[in-house]
């Protein structure tokens, strides 16, 4: 019996071209796909289970007495459903993905093979540590590489994502200040900061104040210095910054912050520009999270999972969260709450159950070892080369606000200055979709109007970049000439522009049986 036999299919109402409507709503390899709730039913299953042994129930009286409402599909139907869904996604494997600040580099398949070795994928986090020494060794080895690449003293491996890592760093700073009896109340963030920076600072109980940028896209160091004082706990800096520029006065900033008794948090999202060439530890950084899904190639997975290990200075190392891996002689141990009072008494506590994103550690270490110290240095150089090539190849057709202040780092920033009346960055983005690209990052950073932030990464060939430049020039020309077809782009994607206003005004977040949905109206 079907949960629902709505027989959903999309309406084909494209009267504007002479292509025929199809019965199915499909267009050759562009295949429409219903929801599992519309094709599955509650008695179908794609799993065969062992026979049930005889037993007497010991559930204790709370047996389920109503349906859950979950559809099932056989294996062939399941494979087809998700294969068809996957074909409606753009991905790095498919093409250039120039999202500024996201570092969409190639995700090596060796990483996937290694992550799936049974000794890493099929072990329980609470197994006796004597039975998982090889897994603990991987974590320890990755920690060593991260500390050495960044020139820092320690690393907290447990944060589950970049923003979680930011929280870790800020909490370590807060713990350090509390320990010296100097609780402070303010954190300074540049106006160009990623939204997670102020959100994290606010969560940790700090008031957030903005530091303005200079005309050449850097932190206004004079404004920063004049704001420093006994109430400023930390400054959160991204370096290279979100405009794609290196902060040349970073050392001076760090020295000033330290002199005023504060700490320097570095958002490591843009580490790809400097890995192997510059160590944040040499710039006076106290804490920096590393997005392993950016610089270190772990896959983005359509929105996670990531991991955000946080490298720490000597001053902050004692406050790092639990648990962590330590090597004692030949043995690896997990330092948890149990021995914290002797091994790590100043820890600010535990941030997450178990001990971290092992699956991302194996992938990141596999990548790091594949490149090695020499290869990682080349990664940064090629990333910066590709971005500058794009900057110089587009600056005559799109406004690049900082193009005259020198080279960019791994990403190039443009504004919407010069587009025809009524035409916006959004229209350029949607036009690029028709050209077969995922658009660049748009409307971030906030300090540039209609920002377009392009980060090619190092895993792109010159031919790919040249084609992208050509497509950008074409779409930019259309936006500046006021081509109306751009306003209704994309024309060729699986969906046209979607009504996001309706989605927010009348949120429909789960599927409901049609007869119930009608009744509710």
């Amino acid at each position: 019996m079907n949960i629902n036999a709505s027989g959903w299919k999309p309406e084909m109402n494209r009267a504007d071209d002479d292509a025929p409507a199809t019965f199915t709503g499909n267009r050759a390899l562009m295949l429409e796909e219903a929801l599992i709730f519309e094709i599955g039913d509650k008695s179908t299953t794609g799993v065969d289970l062992a026979a049930l042994p005889a037993f007497t129930s010991r559930l204790g009286g709370l047996e389920r007495n109503r349906d859950i409402g979950l559809p099932g599909l056989s294996e062939p139907e399941t494979v087809r459903h998700y294969t068809r869904l996957s074909r409606q996604n753009y991905a790095i494997d498919l093409g250039f993905f120039p999202l500024g600040s996201c570092t969409m580099k190639h995700n090596p398949r060796l990483n996937e093979k290694i992550a799936r070795m049974p000794g890493f994928s099929d072990v329980h986090p609470l197994a006796p540590t004597q039975t998982v020494q090889g897994a603990l060794a991987v974590i320890h080895e990755l920690a060593h590489w991260l500390i050495t690449l960044t020139g820092m003293k320690a690393v907290a491996m447990s944060p589950k994502a970049g923003a979680h890592g930011e929280l870790c760093g800020i909490l370590a700073i807060r713990a350090a200040l509390t320990a010296r009896g100097d609780a402070r109340s303010v954190i300074l963030c540049p106006e160009s900061a990623h939204g997670t920076n102020p959100a994290t600072a606010a969560f940790a109980g700090y008031a957030v104040e903005s530091i303005p940028a200079t005309a050449d896209g850097r932190v206004d160091i004079a404004a920063l210095k004049s704001r420093l004082g006994p109430d400023v706990a930390a400054v959160m800096i991204t370096n290279p910054n979100t405009c794609g520029l290196f902060e040349p006065d970073m050392r001076e900033i760090s020295d000033a912050v330290h002199a005023a008794g504060g700490f320097v948090y570095c958002d490591g999202a843009n580490f790809n520009a400097i890995v192997g060439r510059v160590r944040p530890g040499d710039l006076g950084v106290d804490a920096m999270h590393i997005n392993v899904h950016k610089t270190f190639s772990t896959p983005h997975g359509g929105g996670g999972p990531g991991a955000g290990p946080v490298v720490l200075s000597e001053a902050l190392a004692p406050f790092a969260p639990l648990p962590f891996v330590d090597k004692r002689g030949d043995e690896y141990v997990l330092v948890e709450e149990e021995t914290a009072h002797t091994d790590h008494p100043s820890s600010f506590g535990r941030m997450v159950a178990f001990h971290g994103q092992m699956g991302m550690f194996t992938r990141a270490l596999s990548y790091i070892m594949s490149h090695g110290a020499d290869g990682l240095r080349q990664v940064a150089e090629d990333a910066v080369l590709n971005a500058n090539y794009i900057l110089r190849s587009l600056e005559d057709v799109l406004d690049a606000p900082f193009a005259n202040s020198g080279p960019c780092m791994h990403e190039a920033l443009f504004s919407d200055n010069g587009l025809a009346d009524g035409f916006s960055t959004l229209d350029i983005a949607k036009g690029m979709i028709d050209e077969g690209y995922h658009p660049m990052t748009v409307y971030f950073p906030l300090v540039v109007h209609g920002a377009m932030l392009i980060e090619p990464t190092e895993t792109e060939s010159k031919a790919t970049i040249d084609q992208f430049i050509g497509a950008m020039r074409s779409v930019a020309a259309r936006a500046k000439a006021g081509d109306p077809s751009l306003k209704s782009a994309p024309h060729f994607a699986p969906r046209r522009r979607l009504d996001e206003t309706q989605a927010a005004r009348k949120p429909v977040l789960v599927w409901t049986e049609p007869e119930l949905a009608v009744a509710a109206e």
Partner: protein, 452 residues
């Protein structure tokens, strides 16, 4: 180098277009004293696939993989059989290497999957709505406590003694910064949960009460009375589910009155993975949706009137609200949510119900055999696929002795609650469908021998 497509002549040509002589010219903004003049010392240079694979194989072999031994560990992470198609489907490049669906026209695969996932989670938990996932169960739990604080404008959270000690520890850490006070307690090694304590503790100052279901010792209790008391006092009931397969056999927390239900989705589709990545599940009543943290996917239409999906209600989130966001969370656990959803689709209603009963039947079988051992008793009245045994002596060394005999025989309460002597003889044992009759016999014989 296999991941770097640029050739030397490409680099030269590009430098020419840029107008730079060498790559160093592009690093001119970096102070000379901060620049390294060569590869970092003390680290290896690049390596072939073969070399990297050998390094890792060597380390992998040093670990006792769960499928190679009798395996009985749970305590918040469970081993179930994940059908072969799940891992193949999540490795399709269009899922694996896709980004957050901020350009929905070319991300309908991810977005439709998330809509299906949200619906599956909401239904499983008995709630109106669910989000597109969090990092894991423990962070979902503390985010729920924060959410309850925002909704009720109160700051006292009462945590059940049956809540996983890591989840309690995380909540304690976060409470230092949110100003919440937590009322916590250790569990007792007996069949009774601490519901009497909870009912006593909930009052007009309470923002929420947090109860794990089944609890850390595997005990199952009706949440209705706690829900009623909480609502009477203007507080919310947060239920925590660390083993969602249980909901194939027992009533959902939502139908018993829970306002927010959070959990760990790892046991469906994701695998043990030595602690991560996992997938946090987060569901609640419709009226609270604007206070939910995390990403949300919603249904809409496109310019041609075709049904489509988008991320929505983003004004809750950090990229819009910055310091006023409901959470600092940016990413979710997309690929793990996909694995969860595919596995649950393959199971379906019937498959999940049958899988759950099979788990329980095997657990009953194991209990019957293990309690035959002299000095070993069961502390639970009821249980699903995890239960607590009381041993005649301290359990942690017993677990190590079992491991020496190549048996992964459960999690000692001494590991979860170090230094709590009243719990040190407790052994938490999980039995899922992967456990064979031979495994149970091997475990029992070894345990008998160790305790003799």
């Amino acid at each position: 180098m296999r991941y770097l497509p640029l050739t030397q002549s490409d680099r030269q040509a590009m430098l020419g277009v840029i107008g730079a002589k060498t790559i160093d010219d592009l690093f001119v903004d970096v102070p000379a004293e901060a620049q390294l003049d060569g590869p970092i010392q003390g680290l290896l240079n690049h390596a072939s696939e073969m070399a990297v694979e050998r390094f890792f194989s060597n380390l992998s072999r040093q670990n006792m993989a769960a499928s190679h031994h009798p395996f009985f560990l749970g305590a918040g992470a469970y081993k179930h059989h994940v059908p072969a198609s799940v891992d193949h489907l999540i490795q399709r490049g269009e899922f694996l290497t896709a980004y957050t669906p901020y350009q929905p026209e070319i991300a309908q695969g991810t977005l439709q999957m998330l809509f299906e996932f949200q619906t599956q989670v909401a239904r499983l938990f008995g709630c109106d709505v669910a989000n597109a996932s969090m990092y894991d169960g423990s962070t979902a739990c503390w985010e729920a406590i924060g959410m309850a604080g925002r909704i009720t404008k109160k700051s006292k959270a009462v945590l059940s003694a049956g809540l996983h000690p890591h989840y309690v520890s995380v909540a304690e850490t976060m409470a230092k910064y949110t100003g919440d006070t937590l009322d916590i307690a250790k569990p007792e090694l007996g069949s009774a949960t601490d519901s009497a304590r909870l009912l006593e503790a909930i009052d007009g100052e309470t923002s929420c009460v947090v109860v794990q279901y089944p609890d850390i010792l595997g005990r199952i209790e009706d949440l209705s009375a706690i829900a009623a008391k909480a609502h009477e006092c203007g507080a919310l009931l947060i239920a925590v589910v660390t083993e969602p397969v249980a909901l194939g056999a027992i009533r959902s927390p939502g139908e018993m009155g829970a306002d927010i239900v959070v959990g760990e989705g790892q046991s469906i589709g994701v695998g043990l993975q030595f602690g991560g990545p996992y997938v946090g599940l987060f569901a609640c009543k419709e009226k609270f949706v604007r206070q939910m943290p995390g990403r949300l996917c919603g249904e809409t239409v496109d310019a041609d009137g075709k049904r489509g999906f988008v991320l929505t209600l983003s004004t809750r989130e950090q990229h819009i609200r910055r310091e006023k966001a409901t959470s600092n969370i940016c990413t979710n656990s997309g690929l793990c949510a996909l694995a969860f959803s595919i596995h649950l689709t393959l199971l379906g209603e019937k498959g999940l119900r049958d899988l759950a009963i099979l788990n329980h039947a095997k657990a009953v079988q194991a209990v019957d055999r293990l309690t035959q051992i002299k000095g070993v008793s069961l502390i639970n009245d009821g249980f699903f696929n995890e239960f607590t045994l009381q041993l005649p002596r301290e359990a942690r060394s017993v677990v190590r002795a079992l491991a020496d005999r190549k048996i992964l025989g459960g999690v000692s309460l001494g590991r979860l609650y170090p230094g709590v002597s009243e719990l040190e003889n407790g052994l938490l044992v999980a039995v899922t469908e992967i456990v064979t009759d031979e495994d149970i016999e091997a475990f029992a014989s070894a345990l008998e021998e160790i305790l003799a």
